[in-house]
Symmetry: C2
Subunit: 397 residues, 2 copies
């Protein structure tokens, strides 16, 4: 019982000292401890009014005129520029639209086409969220390359003269392991290949440093730590000096140099817009744009510091509250290897998660045996963390 | 002047006899004569409240639980089934998601893969909306086929043993010409090839009869005559007996037989869901679902009859009001060859359209010299048509 009191008091002290605590007011939240922002971010408070304006005024009153007057046409690159500082990119390199899967296809095919013709192999993270693997298989098939799944740790030794491109995850969706983006990017480049990073589980939770580390291409979703809403559009980063060589497998009219010229021959636009495809999905894009306003004045470094403090504190509370042997963390203890989630292996994990949700602690279950808890520093506090660990202990006890 | 009075009186009689006139109340409209529903449909009255519920309650309160509890996960196929009767398809053959361009890629690559290996040529409508041509070029390149642009009229003679697949538009985006879907489909089949129809400019304006005419694959957008909102998701039709052979170039996790099994090896789902790719864009999908409720109790045949009456009346009023030689219709006079738009060639068309818009008649301009007027039978009346022709005559006079 003293452990409980002690941890609760510590949570109070940590919350009082939390410089990001006030950001919680930028979201619509309730009594639930929401630790599933790594799957679907909570609703930013400014989104409903913006969406209503987009629907009622921009669509309902201005109708077709909004393509110019409401800035619809340029939304993909404008919102890309809003995401850019969150992933360490200068402007003009990110475009928003399509799903993560579709963007993986664009990026990986384009990476292969940038590589020397004789390079006949694509490496893919063997532990990846499945869609990246499926899409990589299609990209390999359609570009006449072979696909070789390897763990991120095996990448350095698997690289060679045959490697055209490598598709990696910054943070493992299941374990929460953070991979070494700078070192792996450098290793891929040393082998003369191109790297595509999937940032779904890192963007918005920790610094990425795309420009700083010379990443070639990257993709990510916007509905996790970026809080864009269910299935909100994904983004594609193409490093500036590679943009002229970005040869898209999906050259839709939106990436044409003169989209309203209605020319029968394709001529790609310059810059990030070359990653666009079809008509942009305005409703979802502009909801995302409003959602991104929660980042005004927020430092990603401060977010990272709080994220590590939250996951540290959760692991400590779990260690103190949950009897030995009932759960096992599969998330690395070292900060340099940890994203913003904690994954606990436990028996009957699916059933345990159901009971946690019933008691107001929302994480998610990943087959076959993982409880996943995501910590969004913008709206999760230390008292939430302590409560989650306590309810978990009670549920398992 | 007597012509004006006569046409205005005729408009009044036609509006009074219009069995679909009351449907206009299902939309948010104003004094503008909106003849651009073939580009962006007007706002259905039920959409704002639905979107607000999706944002505030489904996302804001239920959050992650909505994937099950609010039916988010099954939205792509559920909404596909709502579109199905509008294009003459039985349920279980349409899935909604991604842009038209992306769906053209899926459909055309899948069609080529269904064809015999020795068939090395893809035919594409040379007069197509450009994106289909660009995507067809990519599909040809990535499947090792050659691409041959031909006009729809040339298709029958161009078909042969080399033809793998044919990509055609049901209605030409520029001229409004309606192509003969049953005859062209039969011709493609007689040659042993597969056909992909782009329904962007026909679905919601006229009967398509996908099942009746044995169409193989079809795609279409939902933001024109289906009023789904700016950039709302497109759809993909795969005829039931071809679904097991649908081999997607974009095999994302949403099309996996067991999407939450998180399996490293891809195994395609059965049925229309095989056309899904990544996480569905819920906000836009559910706005579209609400928008489709305007079709409750509406017969597509009645819509087609009114559409032809509207375009007939517009051509008649233009003929009576506009001095000879100032405009020339490039839309076929024959009903069997006309979609639901009228395209008028005229000098300085871009400038003329600007002045029309300023005077409350909204159509659009397509380079280099076409004024495009779309007639959405659900909310355009005969008095609107008369006024549009009158303002056009005044603008040109």
């Amino acid at each position: 019982m003293s452990e409980l009191l002690e941890a609760a008091a510590e949570a109070g002290r940590l919350d009082a000292a939390d410089g990001l605590a006030a950001l919680r007011e930028r979201f619509v939240l309730d009594d639930v401890v929401y630790l599933d922002g790594n799957s679907l971010g909570a609703l930013p408070a400014g989104v409903p009014a913006r969406v209503e304006d987009v629907v009622r005024r921009q669509w309902g009153e201005l109708r077709i005129r909004s393509w110019e007057e409401s800035g619809w046409w340029t939304a993909p690159e404008r919102i890309g520029d809003r995401i850019a500082p969150l992933v360490g990119a200068a402007s003009g390199q990110i475009v928003v639209g399509d799903s993560t899967s579709v963007n993986v296809f664009k990026a990986l095919v384009a990476a292969v086409r940038m590589a020397d013709v004789g390079r006949d192999e694509i490496l893919v993270d063997a532990t990846t969220f499945p869609t990246d693997g499926y899409i990589a298989e299609s990209a390999a098939r359609m570009t006449g390359r072979s696909l070789r799944p390897v763990t991120p740790a095996e990448v350095p030794s698997a690289l060679g003269d045959r490697t055209a491109a490598v598709l990696l995850n910054h943070v493992d969706y299941r374990t929460g392991r953070l991979h070494d983006l700078p070192a792996l990017t450098a290793a891929v480049h040393a082998a003369g290949a191109y790297v595509v990073w999937d940032l779904c589980h890192s963007a918005g939770a920790l610094p990425v440093g795309l420009d700083e580390h010379g990443v070639d291409l990257a993709v990510g979703c916007t509905y996790k730590y970026l809080n864009g809403g269910p299935g909100s559009p994904a983004y594609l980063y193409v490093r500036r000096d590679l943009q002229d060589r970005f040869d898209s497998p999906l050259p839709g009219w939106n990436s044409h140099a003169e989209p309203f010229g209605m020319r029968p021959a394709y001529a790609p636009a310059s810059g990030a817009v070359r990653g666009r495809v079809g008509t942009p999905d305005i409703l979802s894009l502009l909801a995302l744009e409003a959602a991104l306003e929660v980042w005004d004045g927020v430092s990603v470094e401060a977010v990272r510091a709080k994220s590590l403090a939250l996951t540290d504190f959760f692991l400590r509370c779990v260690g103190e509250y949950v009897p030995d042997g009932l759960v096992e963390s599969v998330t690395p203890a070292a900060h340099a290897e940890r994203g913003s989630q904690v994954a606990l292996r436990c028996d009957d994990a699916g059933d345990v998660m159901k009971r946690l949700v019933e008691r107001g602690v929302v994480g998610d279950f990943r087959a076959p045996d993982v409880l996943r808890f995501g910590f969004t520093p913008l709206y999760v506090g230390f008292a939430d963390v302590e409560r989650a660990a306590r309810v978990l202990a009670e549920t398992l006890g």
